[in-house]
C-alpha cells in the first residue's frame, strides 16, 4: 500500500540525506507510517517474531563459528568444548540449537495462517512464493546445521538425505557428488556444509527484504480477506499500534524459547546425537529433526512400485512435491473469496489439512511397521518348507504347540517360529494422511472454489469491526497517533 510518503525530514542532516539517499524515508514509510489493517489478530504477529529468530540465529551462529572446528576429527569435541570451556558457550549453543526449532515453529504458524485466510491470493502471490523460498532455504540451512556437531544422527541423517538426492533421475548423482565433495561423507562434506550453513542465512536475509517489499506493495491481508477500502477507516499506522502488539507477541514467544533453552535444552534433540559419528555403526532408528518429520513420513509412505517406477523414486518425488506444490497454491485455490471465515466447507477441509500435517509428523517419528493399535493379541507363526516344496506358515496361540509342531518337522523344513502381529500400522496412517495432503491441494481446493457457496462478507474492514463490537454508532478513534476523524 505504498501511497504518497508522509515523511518530512526535520533536521538539516536528514534533509540533506533525504535528497541523496532517502533511506530514512524508506524506513519511515515501511515501519512507522505504514497503513496496516486494524483488525489483524495475533496470527499476524509472526513476521516480527521471525525477524527476531533470524537475527538470533545469525548472531549466535557467528559466535559459534569462532570456536567450531569443521573437521571429522575435532567437530564433536569442539562443540562440547563450546558447551564446557567457552564463557557462556553453553548458553549461546543452546540458544542456537533451540533457535532452529523455534524458527520452524514460528514459520509453520503463519504458513497455516496464510492458508486459512487466503493470504496467497491475488495480489499477494509473489509475497507467498517468496515465503516458500525462505522456508526452503531454512530447511536447507537447518539440515546442514544439524550435520555440524557430527553426532550419530548428524552423520546418518545426512547419509539418508544425500542418498535421496542421489535418487533423483539424471541429475541426482552429480548433485550428490557436489554436495558430498567426494565419494563418501567426510571432511570435504563437513567443510562445505559449514561454509554453506554460514552463507544461507544471509541469502535468507536477502529474500526477507524482497518478501517485505512484496508485502508493502499490496499491504497486509487481514482476517476478513476484504481489501482495504478506505485507509482512514480501515487501517492504523504500523507504529505504535503494531510495534506494540508485535512487541508483546515477541516477548511471549521469547518466554517459550527461554523455557526450552534453560530447562529442556535436549528435549528437541536426539540422544544419539551425543554419540560421536561412527560411519560403521548405524543407529537403530534414524529420524530427522521434528520439523522435517512430516516430509519424512511422506517419503516412507510409498512402499509399492507403480509400473516401472520404483517405490523409492516415487517417495522422493512426493516428498519434494509436497513442498514444491506450495509454489502453485495461489493457482490451485480457485475461490475468489480469500478468508475461509466465509467458506464453511473449505474451513472443515482446512482443519483436516492441519490435522493431516501434524499427524504426518507423528508418522515420521514412528517406525512405519510398528502398530498404532492391535486387532488381536500377538500370535505365533511357524514358517517352514513343506515336503511339497511350498513355503507354509501356520498360526499358533500357544508356544508349546508351535514348538511341538516344529520338532515334528524334518530338519530339511528349516522351520522357524516368529511373532505374528496384526494391527493398524503407522505406515497405513501415513499413507492415508499423505493422500489427504495431496488431495487437499490438487482436488479439494480447485473444486471447492467452483462449487462452494460462500457466506456474505462484510462490506469493509471497518464494517466487520463494528459488527464484532455490536456498536451501531461509528466511533472515532482518539489519541494523537490515530488521525482518523469521525464521519
Amino acid at each position: 500500500m505504498s501511497g504518497p510518503s508522509t515523511y518530512e525530514p526535520k533536521t538539516g542532516f536528514t534533509k540533506w540525506l533525504d535528497t541523496r539517499l532517502p533511506i530514512v524515508r524508506l524506513a519511515y514509510d515501511s515501519f512507522i507510517d505504514f497503513p496496516t489493517p486494524k483488525n489483524l489478530n495475533y496470527w499476524w504477529t509472526f513476521g516480527g517474531i521471525l525477524a527476531v529468530c533470524l537475527v538470533i540465529q545469525i548472531v549466535t551462529g557467528i559466535v559459534l563459528a569462532m570456536h567450531y572446528i569443521a573437521s571429522t576429527k575435532d567437530a564433536f569435541a569442539s562443540v562440547e568444548r563450546i558447551m564446557r570451556d567457552i564463557d557462556y558457550g553453553w548458553l549461546i549453543r543452546n540458544i542456537h540449537a533451540t533457535g532452529a526449532s523455534m524458527f520452524f515453529l514460528a514459520v509453520y504458524i503463519p504458513m497455516f495462517r496464510g492458508m486459512y485466510y487466503g493470504s496467497y491470493k491475488q495480489p499477494r502471490e509473489m509475497l507467498w512464493i517468496l515465503g516458500v523460498v525462505i522456508y526452503g532455504l531454512m530447511m536447507a540451512t537447518a539440515f546442514m546445521g544439524y550435520v555440524l556437531p557430527w553426532g550419530q544422527m548428524s552423520f546418518h541423517g545426512s547419509a539418508v538425505i544425500t542418498n535421496l538426492i542421489g535418487a533423483i533421475p539424471l541429475v541426482g548423482p552429480t548433485i550428490k557428488t557436489y554436495l558430498m565433495g567426494g565419494p563418501a561423507i567426510g571432511d570435504a562434506t563437513l567443510n562445505r556444509f559449514f561454509s554453506l550453513h554460514y552463507l544461507l542465512p544471509f541469502v535468507i536475509a536477502g529474500v526477507v527484504i524482497l518478501h517485505i517489499w512484496a508485502l508493502h506493495v499490496p499491504g497486509n491481508g487481514n482476517p476478513t480477506g476484504v481489501s482495504v477500502k478506505d485507509a482512514k477507516k480501515d487501517t492504523v499506522p504500523f507504529h505504535p499500534y503494531y510495534t506494540v502488539k508485535d512487541g508483546f507477541a515477541i516477548v511471549v514467544f521469547l518466554i517459550v524459547f527461554a523455557a526450552f533453552v534453560f530447562y529442556f535444552p535436549n528435549a528437541l534433540g536426539h540422544a544419539d546425537n551425543s554419540i560421536e559419528a561412527n560411519p560403521l555403526q548405524t543407529p537403530a532408528h534414524i529420524v530427522p529433526e521434528w520439523y522435517l518429520l512430516p516430509f519424512y513420513a511422506i517419503l516412507r509412505a510409498i512402499t509399492f512400485d507403480i509400473g516401472p517406477i520404483p517405490a523409492k523414486l516415487i517417495g522422493v518425488a512426493l516428498m519434494f512435491g509436497s513442498i514444491l506444490i506450495l509454489f502453485v497454491l495461489p493457482w490451485l485455490d480457485t475461490s475468489k473469496v480469500r478468508s475461509m471465515r466465509y467458506r464453511p466447507f473449505a474451513r472443515q477441509m482446512f482443519l483436516g489439512f492441519v490435522i493431516a500435517s501434524i499427524g504426518l509428523g507423528f508418522c515420521g517419528a514412528n517406525d512405519p511397521d510398528t502398530l498404532i493399535f492391535k486387532f488381536r493379541e500377538d500370535k505365533l507363526s511357524l514358517n517352514y518348507t513343506a515336503t511339497t516344496g511350498a513355503t507354509t506358515s501356520e498360526i499358533f496361540d500357544d508356544f508349546a504347540a508351535a514348538q511341538a509342531k516344529l520338532q515334528s518337522l524334518p530338519p530339511t523344513a528349516g522351520g522357524a517360529i516368529e511373532i505374528s502381529k496384526s494391527g493398524f500400522k503407522w505406515l497405513w496412517l501415513s499413507q492415508i494422511l499423505s493422500a489427504y495432503y495431496f488431495l487437499y491441494f490438487l482436488v479439494i481446493l480447485p473444486v471447492l472454489g467452483v462449487i462452494e457457496k460462500p457466506k456474505p462478507r462484510p462490506a469493509s474492514i471497518a464494517d466487520s469491526v463494528r459488527k464484532k463490537h455490536g456498536s451501531k454508532a461509528k466511533t472515532a478513534p482518539a489519541g494523537a497517533a490515530a488521525p482518523q476523524a469521525a464521519e
Binding site: 492504523v236 516477548v251 528435549a267 534433540g269
Partner: protein, 300 residues
C-alpha cells in the same frame, strides 16, 4: 465471530501440537540432565530411593554424591573408560564437586591437584625431551586408559569401552540408565544363551531375540555386553565421608558423577533461567499493558 473462534481453536491446536510434537515424537530423547523414568527394553528403569536430586526445574547435583562418584570412577571405571572431554580443573570449577570458595581459581584447588596427581599422563620431560608418563596437573585432561582403540578392543573381548564424558546425554534415561545398567547384571533367565565373554544385563539398550529359545513374544528385556559387572560386590571403594559403599550406593554415585560430567553447567543454566524468565514475564506484562493502552480507543 464464531467462525473466528473456530479458526482460532484450530490454530491453537496447531500451535500446541507443534510445540508438543518434539516432546512426544522424541519421547526417547534424553531429558535435560539425565535421569527421569524411561522405559528401556520394555520396562521401567531403576531409580534410587529418593530419586535424583538434579532433576526438576530447581534440581541441583548432590555434591557429596558427585564427590563419591568421582572416586568410584577413578578407582573402578577409569581403568577401562576415558573421560576425554573433561579436564581435572573442571572438578574445582563452580558447579563442580570439589569447588570451594577459597579457591576461585580451580588450579589452586588442593583437592583437585591431589586427584590430578593420581593419574599418569603422557608427556615430554622438559629437561631431556624424552617422552614418558608424568603425574597429572589440573590443566590436563582425564587420560584415555588405552594407547589406541585397537588395543582397547583386543583387551576387552572385541568391544570398545566408550568414553563416558557425555554418556548421560547419549542414552535414553541418562543417570537412571547408568544406574540401572550397573545394577542390571542379573542371572540370565532359563532359555537365554549368553555367548562367552558376554554378560546379560536386563537394562542394556540391546536385544535378546536371537539368543532366546523360548516364546518370542516374551523375550527377556535388555541385552548382552562385553563389560563384566564393574560393581559386582559391596565395598569396592572406601568413601571418604564414611558412607557405606553398597552396590546401590556406588551405582547411584557414579551415575550422578557422570550426569554432572555430561552437563556441568546445569546448575548455572537453571539458575539463570529463573532470572531470564522472571525478566521476560515482567516485560510481557508491561508490553501487554502498553498494548491495551495504545489500542484503547481503536475498535479492532
Amino acid at each position: 465471530m464464531r467462525l473466528n473462534k473456530l479458526a482460532l481453536a484450530a490454530l491453537t491446536a496447531l500451535a500446541v501440537g507443534a510445540a508438543a510434537l518434539p516432546v512426544i515424537a522424541q519421547e526417547h530423547a534424553a531429558p535435560a540432565a539425565g535421569g527421569e523414568q524411561h522405559a528401556a527394553g520394555g520396562h521401567e528403569l531403576l531409580a534410587p530411593t529418593g530419586g535424583w536430586s538434579h532433576e526438576g526445574y530447581f534440581g541441583s547435583y548432590d555434591t557429596n554424591s558427585v564427590q563419591r562418584g568421582a572416586k568410584v570412577y577413578r578407582e573402578v571405571c577409569s581403568s577401562c573408560h576415558g573421560l576425554k572431554l573433561l579436564s581435572f580443573r573442571n572438578l574445582g570449577e563452580p558447579g563442580g564437586p570439589f569447588y570451594e570458595a577459597r579457591w576461585p581459581n580451580p588450579n589452586d584447588n588442593l583437592v583437585v591437584k591431589e586427584i590430578a596427581a593420581m593419574f599418569q599422563i603422557d608427556g615430554v620431560d622438559p629437561d631431556s625431551g624424552d617422552p614418558g608418563k608424568f603425574p597429572g596437573k589440573t590443566s590436563d585432561r582425564f587420560p584415555n586408559p588405552y594407547p589406541n582403540d585397537i588395543y582397547a578392543r583386543v583387551v576387552n573381548g572385541g568391544a570398545l569401552p566408550p568414553d563416558l564424558s557425555v554418556m548421560a546425554k547419549a542414552r535414553h534415561g541418562g543417570a537412571g540408565y547408568i544406574y540401572s545398567l550397573m545394577l542390571g547384571f542379573v542371572p540370565p533367565p532359563a532359555g537365554l544363551t549368553v555367548a562367552p565373554g558376554q554378560h546379560y544385563n536386563a537394562y542394556f539398550a540391546g536385544d535378546t531375540a536371537s539368543s532366546w529359545s523360548g516364546d518370542p513374544r516374551h523375550k527377556p528385556p535388555g541385552g548382552f555386553l562385553a563389560m563384566a559387572p564393574p560393581l559386582a560386590t559391596d565395598g569396592l571403594v572406601t568413601f571418604d565421608d564414611g558412607t557405606p559403599s553398597t552396590k546401590e550406593q556406588m551405582a547411584r554415585d557414579v551415575a550422578t558423577f557422570l550426569a554432572w560430567a555430561s552437563d556441568p553447567k546445569m546448575e548455572t543454566r537453571k539458575k539463570m533461567g529463573v532470572s531470564v524468565l522472571a525478566y521476560l514475564a515482567i516485560l510481557a506484562l508491561l508490553a501487554f499493558v502498553s498494548y491495551r493502552r495504545i489500542w484503547r480507543n481503536v475498535e479492532h
